[in-house]
């Protein structure tokens, strides 16, 4: 064993030395051939990448390259052009660009004093073109939002259908008319954010262990015992517990665990369960954004903008806590009548049943999951110092937990919500198509023109617009589509380089879910369970309590951002 380790270490060292010493020499070796370099930008000054740059000598192709992520390109030529230097740049969804070099350019390529020639073409501005593919990509995304909103098709199927339409049009339509082209498979893969994928996967594995332990039910039961009939106190504890759980787990799982036990507690107190359930789900949607891993929207935002777990803790969590306090005060006011009247004590049988339903079911797994979860939180916070991203931390945590508790791996893999992961893949491709055809750039420009250089106005507009739209539109696709727009505004708006617009998007997109029953999956799941217990939550009832709370909490969160930054 020890001998093997020495061998592995030696081979690794040799490989590392080879890579360190050998590769740079090859890569950096000066090429004696003439080269042409430059940079491609769109009309907003954004880099144009993956454009095909070809250099011709009359009718002979003498060099070809693709532009990089920063828009730069470098074409190494086979020879110095003898007849005519022609540079042709082509990229789908842009007008072709062509340039013919003069004698001065040719002289530069010939070089002097034994050095190879180099020609630099100043920033090339590529003009966008609205194609049929543009309209197909936009219609597909709008269709996706409608399908999700009307629940005509499962969310994942809707996203995958969108992806299929984009590929179908690109591959079948483009040979007929090149304007049908949207993006190809290789390009689509580049739009899939694998950091999001693995972070969600890792968290799902950990949550699948934690959720079955009964810890939240047990805590809720003890809140009930400690409150001793003081419902106002019970609601504060349950809301805070829900908010905390949502900050660490996803909101749907949290409400799936909290709703049944809260409903039983409410019945035990002869209280209308909605007086506990509505505050809890409101607290879940607010608390969920306290950390980077609490909601899919925060995971998307953090991964896209390269924000760390600590960034969220520093810049968003205090605002969320303030919103939570305001929400508690609001709930105490609107439910004051319900909280004043509580019923008689439970029979011994029902008390026993309630305690039984709220017991910790897997204490050993809970202890181990607790240790790993705390370790993960520490790594989430400290990991950025050693460039350890949240996705890697989540994966390490998930794997260590599985190795430690040795569950049935098949069961754990079944418990991972693959449909959600597939949803993300389909969604990333659909949003990538919007970006590819230039739709997102147009939205960004329009928004940029609207807000001018007013950062405060932008924060207010973005937060409320995101909140209002999230009431009716699924907030995950909406957030995914808004990320490049917010990135554009962050780059161009003076003072926005601190990423506060990303936090504004987070607040609006997640807290906006409180504005209507269909605003968040957690609302619908809570309503579903309550309905199955004979306490339906109507759209009107939810909005009566949810909409004012949404306005309050979004405003407080937004004010925090304006104060903090």
């Amino acid at each position: 064993m020890h001998k093997h380790a020495v061998w592995i270490l030696t081979i690794s060292l040799v490989l590392a030395l080879f890579l360190c010493l050998g590769l740079p020499r090859d890569v950096l070796a000066a090429d004696p051939r003439p080269t042409i370099g430059g940079r491609l930008l769109d009309s907003h000054g954004e880099p144009v990448y993956h454009a095909q740059v070809s250099v011709w000598d009359g009718n002979d192709l003498i060099g070809e390259a693709e532009s990089n992520a920063d828009g730069s390109f470098l074409v190494i030529l086979e020879r110095v052009p003898q007849r005519e230097l022609r540079v042709h740049i082509r990229r789908p969804h842009f007008h072709d660009w062509e340039w013919i070099g003069d004698s001065h350019a040719l002289r530069q390529l010939q070089g002097s004093g034994g050095e190879s020639g180099y020609l630099f073409i100043p920033d090339v501005q590529m003009q966008r073109r609205v194609t049929i593919g543009f309209w197909v990509a936009v219609s597909t995304f709008v269709g996706l939002l409608i399908l999700i909103a009307l629940e005509k098709l499962h969310n994942t199927l809707s996203a995958l259908l969108g992806m299929a339409v984009i590929f179908l049009v690109s591959y079948i339509g483009a040979p007929i008319n090149s304007d049908f082209f949207i993006l190809d498979f290789e390009r689509a893969l580049q739009y899939i954010n694998f950091e999001v994928f693995f972070l969600v996967l890792g968290m799902m594995i950990v949550i699948s262990v934690v959720e079955g332990t009964g810890i939240f039910q047990w805590l809720s039961y003890w809140a009930y015992r400690i409150a001793q009939g003081r419902v106002w106190l019970l609601s504060i504890v349950l809301m805070s517990l829900t908010g905390l759980a949502s900050a660490l787990l996803d909101n749907v799982t949290t409400m799936l665990l909290m709703t049944p036990i809260s409903l039983q507690i409410a019945l035990a107190l002869q209280l209308n369960p909605l007086a506990l359930l509505i505050p809890e789900v409101l607290a879940s949607n607010v608390g969920g954004i306290a950390t980077m891993v609490g909601t899919p929207t925060n995971i998307l935002i953090g991964s896209y903008a390269n924000l760390s777990f600590s960034d969220f803790l520093r810049n968003l969590t205090p605002g969320v806590l303030l919103s939570h306090v305001v929400l508690i005060a609001y709930v105490q006011i609107v439910f004051r009548k319900e909280y004043r009247s509580v019923g008689t004590a439970l029979s011994a049988t029902l008390e026993e049943k309630l305690a039984e339903n709220a017991r910790i079911t897997r204490p050993v797994e809970l202890r181990k999951a607790g240790v790993v979860f705390i370790g993960m939180l520490v790594l989430f916070v400290l990991g950025e110092r050693i460039h350890l991203g949240p996705a890697v931390t989540a994966l390490i945590g998930a794997i260590l937990l599985l190795v430690w508790i040795r569950p049935n791996v098949d069961e754990i893999l079944v418990s991972v919500d693959w449909t959600t992961l597939l949803f993300f893949i389909g969604l990333f491709v659909c949003v990538g198509a919007l970006e590819e055809v230039g739709f997102i750039g147009q939205i960004a420009t329009a928004l940029g023109n609207l807000v001018g250089e007013h950062l405060t106005f932008t924060v207010v507009l973005l937060t409320y617009a995101a909140a209002l739209l999230s009431m009716v539109v699924a907030n995950i696709p909406f957030t995914a589509a808004m990320l490049p727009v917010v990135a554009y505004l962050t780059r161009h708006l003076p003072g926005a380089e601190n990423y506060m617009l990303f936090y504004a998007l987070s607040i609006g997109a997640a807290m906006g879910g409180n504005g209507s029953l269909i605003g968040a999956s957690a609302n619908l799941v809570t309503a579903g369970i309550a309905e199955r217990a004979g306490y339906p939550i109507s759209y009107k009832d939810f909005m009566r309590y949810g909409l004012p709370s949404m306005i309050l909490t979004v405003t407080v969160g937004m004010l925090w951002l304006l104060f903090h930054f």
């Binding site: 949550i207 339903n357 199955r532 339906p536």
Partner: protein, 157 residues
């Protein structure tokens, strides 16, 4: 939808050609149904079983991370608690009562349960527009189907 497995299925004792079954979800909207079921059981001198069916159809709304088996387990516990409150209510009125909890599509599970237990009467709720799980037309069709497939008399209260 699957039925509860042995672990998370709660069954009352088989009734066999006698007994009253009340399929309910509890809640204020079901109070008249429960009262009617207790009254029927008392009149007939037969045991009463409250049946709760955890229909997890709402889980299709759950996009992220939600597990149907977890939901089923939590719904079972909740269903048992709610049914136990009804059992206590019936027992206080001198009626022998028990409960059963199942998971699955309401219609399928209800018919399957009646075929297995063969009670004499089923008491179902009469829907009110604001709280109804089933609309009146669906309920009428369901009652007809139950009577055809199981031979059990249905009281809609």
């Amino acid at each position: 939808m699957e039925v509860f497995d042995e672990k998370n299925r709660t069954e009352a004792h088989p009734i066999g050609d006698r007994g009253v079954v009340c399929a309910t979800r509890g809640g204020q909207g079901s109070e008249p149904t429960v009262a009617a079921a207790i009254a029927t059981a008392r009149e007939r001198g037969e045991p009463l079983t409250f049946l709760y069916i955890a229909d997890l159809e709402f889980m299709r709304h759950a996009l992220m991370g939600a597990r149907t088996d977890l939901a089923a387990e939590e719904m079972r516990k909740m269903g048992e608690f709610i049914m136990l409150t009804l059992v206590e209510q019936a027992q206080k009125q001198g009626v022998e009562a028990d409960f059963a909890v199942r998971k699955g599509r309401f219609r399928d599970e209800l018919i399957a349960y009646l075929q297995e237990m063969r009670p004499s009467v089923l008491v179902l709720g009469r829907p009110k527009p604001e709280t109804a799980y089933l609309d009146p037309d669906t309920l009428a069709r369901l009652i007809e189907e139950i009577q055809t497939q199981t031979g059990v008399s249905v009281i809609s209260a």
